[in-house]
Symmetry: C4
Subunit: 201 residues, 4 copies
């Protein structure tokens, strides 16, 4: 299978995930009144958690693309590793919704962290599956030995741990990771550029 | 019509089906409490049935692609055979939801099996429609004479039958078929590869 | 703007319309019981109206594609004529849902007919807009002078009229038009084929 | 990253936004009766606000395309500027829904105006980000010095201000801007055409 078709399907799923989260937000009812006061009470928190998950899906969309720049064809293992990642990402609307509906209670914060962690692990498994492919060694070389991939999971675990102290405290590492990733990953781009500029022998 | 456009439309529909199933899951209410205990009670089963249907849609997406590798153009019969397949797949969110909401009652399990069976039949009809096309004989050759396509429908019927004994028992064949298909179909790939490697006379 | 991009966007919208209609179907509640009896009572009619609208969206998707085979570039008028068509098609989930929820009452049947009629008119306006383009004369030639486009609107009007006698009677012309269109439109294909086979002077 | 992939993803998100707004419309219940009278009471206003937001998303889809005609590659800044725009557009279903549900109350009208204003600002930021790219100067040249971009934000602010006098009065500038933009933006097209017609020295 060509990686372009896998990318198009993944883009479709990510576009839907990022958009349907909005459907889960609840507006104030007629009884609550249609005022900004009622809006902030009933919808304000949903907006913030939506923003956080929107950034996360945006990050995965951005990084997902880089992964497939090194290889034109994928096999069944990569295909299912990719669906495995999409599965965890598809749960973001659910875990985000619970986080907001519970007004950031302990267990929903832990679940949100577990969801983030599972998606990160699935992403890591996907990179391993791609590295198996012909030309996949380039990806390993491009991603190098250290980086944001390695710092994110411990920060998710930290957030999960902190949630048991205070759920709001637990959210801080999740926000920090999102901010950290907002700076797009230029390593693959750099590597590709370096390769193109390399003198042909 | 070019098969690429039909594939893109089908990919879009499958991406939406696989994602909107999440919207059907219900979270614990404020009254139930926002604890893992309440989450497992209210959402746990939905997660499992979602996972099962997610895998099935993933399987159809994967196999769907192989079908159209042998032919570049499609006619009206293939087009409607494809829409017929998409119709049954589009009912997965409904039948999956009923299965979870009823806590795996008998009739919802039977309906889920019927939905799986109808999709399998629609897929088979689609392969017949493609084999009619110029070059479609290749597909028949590639799929060969035996295989997972032939084992799946009897297993769905078995599951439907077992559901009358015990709904949970009926789910087993459905899970078995999903696991069986998780190993991607390499037969078409192999056939294409064999053809490419064949010495040109 | 290239027509390919307009087609891709329209395909996306149609794929979403055809899929989210499923979200509007209501399952029997715990109180109704999770039996086939309750399912047919609460969901059976929705399934039938869903099937009808599914076929209609399928028809529009199929025919939409033919329209843009004659021209590679589109202008602003075509773009908005296309969005105008998508607007009416996007109301199908709403009018279909009302038809089912009201158990085929008079006014919802009339509204469904109006929706079908409005989409047909929007489609006709779109063909006019495309005929204005360079090369658009071909479309007029290909569609010829008589055909299903001319029979459909009167049948919608007939259905709307009959709905005032009996809503179920009013549905008959809507079903007839759908069946009539299920045979895909080969006229454009034929015209393109004829042109390709024409001896080059 | 190639701009074509960013466009495809954005198209997907816009197609979903424009379609799921329909899911937010409420039909009359059995108690209200299934009559046109009840329909206009419960759904009529939603239809009008849906139409307005449909036109706005259509406008953004149309203009979005023009932006990326001048540059084939995008960097991380453009990517996040684009996601920033999509974020505000993804809130349209929410703000449109509140506007309709509140029967055009003051605060929801103000929020709708803020949403329009934020999307316009995000669009402006995106044009700045693209102008930074190699070849981006062309965009600046093409958009010229005056135009609809400059008139829209003050009109949104006017609408927000007027909403404090009367919400319905506040909607007028929002409708005026939509009508103003319905005439598609031919400036970029003209500039590209002019460039192509320029004599090559």
């Amino acid at each position: 299978m060509q990686s372009s078709r896998l990318e198009a399907f993944s883009d479709g799923v990510l576009a839907i995930i990022i958009t349907i989260m909005v459907l889960e937000m609840h507006l104030p009812s007629d009884k609550d009144g249609h005022t900004f006061h009622a809006f902030f009470d009933h919808t304000g928190l949903s907006l913030l958690t939506y923003l956080l998950s929107f950034v996360y899906v945006g990050i995965y969309w951005n990084n997902h693309h880089h992964l497939f720049q090194v290889s034109e064809n994928v096999d069944g293992v990569v295909l299912w590793a990719n669906l495995h990642l999409l599965f965890w990402l598809s749960l973001f609307p659910l875990s985000t919704n619970w986080l907001a509906e519970s007004h950031v209670a302990r267990d929903p914060t832990v679940l949100y962290g577990i969801n983030l962690l599972a998606a990160a692990v699935a992403y890591f498994v996907l990179t391993l599956a791609i590295q198996r492919l012909p030309g996949g060694g380039n990806l390993q070389e491009a991603l190098g030995g250290s980086g944001k991939e390695k710092i994110s999971p411990p920060l998710y675990v930290l957030g999960i741990g902190l949630a048991f102290v205070s759920p709001w405290l637990g959210l801080i590492p999740f926000v920090v990771v999102a901010l950290m990733w907002l700076v797009p990953d230029r390593r693959v781009e750099r590597w590709l550029q370096a390769r193109d500029e390399m003198p042909k022998v």
